[in-house]
Point group: C2
Chain length 310, copies 2
């Protein structure tokens, strides 16, 4: 369930655009209004506001927001303004700058359904005139390249059918390779990058049943290794994306990693952030809102809390 | 241009189905009628005939054809009866049996547009409840696996934009790797599997301009090597599919490789077999029909020649 709250009576896009324009005028920005509007409109409504704003004032709302706001607050609002598909394409592109941010690529490749991943790849091409695959391959190397290009490239089968014998044999292959610490074994990469999510879940369950330990637990011994960590994230994103996000939020708040905090809140607020919040509460005995209030400040905090439904 | 010829006045699907039924009855099969009908109907018409036949006689036309015909003739008719997308999915699946038939996989991955490749992969999943990627990865290994899964997996950018500097730098990377005979260099695989076709053509042209030799010529020194041969086929399929098919036909006729002969004729008869025929005539001073008449015989020959427009 989403955390985004939209007022019962939403003003017209033109009214919203006019309010925003007023908020930008004069000394400083009326951030309360900006947040009250933008953090309480869904993707379609935001799109209509952008269109109305551009029509009325002959300037891009996003560009104007960029010049009005700053820091993490600006970044968060900027990302929020995209439609969900384009946002993932943009996040993928940002993740490929400088040192590659593998978790972002893995999230996009593994949490989306195969059909949604395809649409993100199409949006990426429309924006950058390149395929996500070629940019990713050009900016990575070695085992990590094999893993990431495989995850992004494969159009996974999305059915529920499970081959029990295959789960058994591939759980064994994974176990043998992990036992020998040959984490880059080509079969590990092959299995993780090509099998359907249903099949992988069956394989991981089999692994746990046979070896009295989850595969992620087995990998966590060497999680300092970048490649092993990428395998770990891959499996988490396939098996339990909500738990993955909950942990990501926890780590982000502990390490003041506002980029990750923003990413989870902005990308999930219209999807399943409510379930993630519940997991967070269970795990930490604190509400996500309380933690954010304690760690963050200013308009960034207000905006993020607004997306959480406050 | 297609070579398939369809009569000006096509009988109704029911009439065609009735004629076929008659052709199957009594001693033996009236192959002349079978060929006269099936080799002169387009994909949609064949589909309607199949539907009408099944409706009238409560049996599958394809299954009946399998039991009536045999050998290469049966195989050719069987393949012809599929719609083009499903046919490629079936051909891919057959190519993965026993020892993997890489050229078939490469043709499907590289000659189709990115959008058509995607549709073939969707058809594959619908038929086999697996992804093409996972079956391919499970049945290959090493460098060939990297190449083939990359070719099938990547959703290539399909635009015409070319980055001239990139073509220059990647032509150099390819040249260095080929000069050192490190054909499995990860950059060779990366470039061939991820760049857009337009970009690759620019890169190969640059290669030729710089080194006074085409990249395929440079590779042909080691074409006995299975992996090098796969690289060669990849480049040919990207750069000049028609010439690739022409050569495939020539080799198939020389080596009595009826599987390949059937594949080219059946898959291209509704597309561009006419251009391929013209290239064949230019190259050999013999018409494709003459060569087939000389090398082949029986109903197989009649059927294949009918698809060529005779």
């Amino acid at each position: 369930m989403a955390t985004l709250t939209v007022p019962e009576h939403v003003p017209s896009p033109v009214e919203d655009a006019e309010q925003l324009r007023k908020a930008f005028q004069g000394w400083g920005t009326d951030d309360k209004t900006v947040i009250a509007i933008l953090a309480h409109r869904n993707s379609t409504q935001r799109k209509h506001i952008q269109e109305a704003y551009e029509e009325l004032y002959k300037e891009s709302l996003t560009k104007r927001l960029e010049s009005e706001l700053n820091g993490d607050y600006e970044k968060a609002v900027y990302r929020w303004m995209f439609n969900p598909i384009e946002r993932e394409a943009v996040l993928a592109n940002i993740a490929l700058k400088k040192s590659v941010d593998s978790p972002v690529i893995i999230e996009i490749a593994c949490i989306n359904s195969p059909a949604d991943l395809l649409v993100v790849k199409q949006a990426y091409q429309a924006l950058y005139k390149h395929s996500l695959e070629e940019d990713l391959a050009a900016r990575t190397s070695g085992d990590l390249r094999k893993l990431l290009t495989g995850l992004v490239g494969t159009y996974r089968y999305n059915g529920d059918e499970i081959d029990v014998k295959l789960a058994q044999s591939e759980a064994l292959i994974l176990h043998e390779a992990i036992k020998r610490k040959t984490y880059n074994h080509e079969d590990i990469i092959r299995i993780l990058t090509t099998r359907s999510k249903a099949q992988l879940n069956a394989t991981f369950n089999r692994y746990k049943d046979e070896h009295a330990m989850t595969i992620t637990k087995a990998l966590s011994a060497d999680s300092a290794n970048e490649f092993v960590s990428a395998l770990y994230v891959t499996i988490k994103c396939i098996v339990s994306p909500l738990k993955y996000y909950e942990k990501l939020l926890r780590n982000a708040l502990n390490k003041s990693d506002d980029d990750s905090l923003t990413r989870v809140i902005v990308t999930r607020a219209e999807k399943d952030l409510n379930e993630i919040k519940e997991l967070y509460l269970k795990r930490t005995n604190t509400t996500l809102e309380q933690s954010i209030s304690k760690k963050e400040s200013g308009h960034y905090r207000s905006f993020i809390l607004a997306l959480l439904g406050n």
